[in-house]
């Protein structure tokens, strides 16, 4: 997997998050992981099929998920990770991946994206169908989330 493939996805954060009210978006550490991921909290997954094939998984802990959902709902307080918050995070993953697919197409790589699926809980274990998973930490104001890219 070419590491450059990650740039259209990072660009998507820079394009989409300011529209949702985030002032500062930056990129944290980038790591290469095996296909086994773990986490507590929320994972939103979107499939891609086209010139490349795989999945993008956005993962974050509950506090960050609630913080991001709150920001997306104009600062409305989000106490629990309820239906509204779940819908917001799903929509976010949809917007980010949609934007990334446009960025990819500008580089000559065409992909279509699936409907997002949201999985949440404690002690989540994930096995992606990829030999390696590229992981980038994204920091948006005081919220943090991980962008995981698993391409075949």
């Amino acid at each position: 997997m070419d590491v450059k493939i990650i740039n259209p996805f990072i660009e998507a954060f820079n394009n989409v998050l300011p529209q949702l009210g985030f002032a500062k978006v930056s990129k944290g550490a980038m790591t290469v992981k095996s296909s086994d991921l773990q986490g507590n909290g929320v994972m939103a997954i979107v499939g891609l099929v086209g010139d490349v094939k795989g999945n993008v998984i956005y993962s974050m802990n509950f506090d960050n998920a609630k913080g991001i959902a709150s920001k997306m709902m104009m600062g409305m307080p989000v106490e629990n990770f309820d239906d509204m918050a779940q819908s917001a995070i799903s929509e976010l993953s949809n917007m980010l991946t949609g934007n990334a697919s446009i960025n990819l197409s500008e580089l000559g790589t065409t992909v279509d994206i699936s409907t997002p699926t949201l999985i949440y809980g404690e002690g989540l274990k994930v096995k992606a169908k990829a030999s390696k998973v590229l992981c980038v930490e994204i920091i948006a104001d005081d919220a943090k989330l991980d962008l995981n890219i698993a391409f075949e």
Binding site: G54, N55, I113, P116, T117, G123, K127
Partner: protein
């Protein structure tokens, strides 16, 4: 005959649109020139679609479209305006208009747009009609052919709580969607032993993922045979597992089926979204 409501402040534009539409077999059930009468007329006439001018004095076409969409989220509004540039198209898409025709109205362009809007709708309805059966058939095929055992499959209500192992397969095509196969650890292990026919050790997750991929791929090809324009394809499966896993399905209307097998219960949830209208 499809019913149309025309929203335009100019009597001249309304008369041209009425002529074009009526000549081509549409019934113009109402004409609205100001927002105050919009929702009342929409409700009374119950149109199949609306043509919407943009530049109007009291509220513009985007605001009027929002009023309609708030009243009826399934409304189909086609913007008809002399302005057509990127920002106008973006605004039209933002208020969920389904098409755009430039003034002066060209009959052929208008008819093509209407055909596109309803063609897409009809194909989506066809998919909605068939997909549960397609996935039921594929799950049954998968179990019966790959494990040589029998199964009983029924439609059930969706449960947000996972049994432990959830395999997610994204679906891409004319409409996007996704399938989730859910089972407990014991079922996953029993199923994979039966499929692999030897010691599975740490391969359980990979084997059930491959099983899910086959079921989802098979279902998509059953559906593609019904209508090749569905053009459904499957993204690689991702396995989520854990004792306390929840699955959330906002943004999608989905159906759930449950297979009783000798390995345990296998639950399949699948749904599609209509997606963004690809008009420009």
């Amino acid at each position: 005959m499809k019913k149309v409501l025309i929203v335009d402040d100019s009597p001249f534009s309304r008369s041209i649109l009425t002529d074009v539409l009526e000549e081509n077999g549409f019934e113009v059930v109402g004409e609205v020139e100001s927002p105050s009468e919009l929702i009342r007329t929409y409700t009374e006439t119950d149109p199949d679609f609306v043509t919407m001018d943009i530049a109007m004095p009291e509220k513009d076409g985007f605001e009027c479209t929002e009023m309609i969409m708030n009243h009826d989220p399934n409304a189909k509004v086609i913007m008809v305006s002399s302005m057509k540039d990127e920002s106008v198209i973006k605004d039209a898409k933002a208020v969920k208009a389904v098409g755009f025709v430039q003034k002066p109205v060209d009959a052929e362009e208008l008819l093509e747009t209407i055909q596109f809007v309803f063609g897409k709708e009809e194909i989506f309805k066809e998919l909605q009609k068939h997909y549960v059966n397609g996935f039921t058939e594929a799950l049954e095929n998968g179990i019966v052919k790959m494990t040589k055992t029998t199964t009983d499959i029924q439609e059930v209500d969706f449960r947000t709580q996972s049994k432990g192992v959830s395999i997610v397969c994204g679906i891409i095509g004319k409409y996007s969607g996704r399938m989730i196969l859910d089972m407990d650890y014991e079922t996953a292990e029993n199923l994979s032993i039966k499929l692999y026919k030897k010691d599975v050790k740490d391969k359980v997750m990979q084997i059930v993922a491959e099983f899910s991929n086959v079921v989802c791929g098979n279902a998509c090809s059953i559906l593609n045979k019904k209508n090749k324009t569905f053009a459904l394809r499957v993204a690689p499966p991702t396995i989520f597992h854990g004792e306390k896993l929840n699955i959330s399905t906002p943004l999608i209307q989905s159906k759930t089926i449950q297979a009783q097998t000798e390995f345990g219960e296998i639950v399949l949830n699948v749904g599609f979204t209509r997606g963004d209208e690809e008009w420009t």
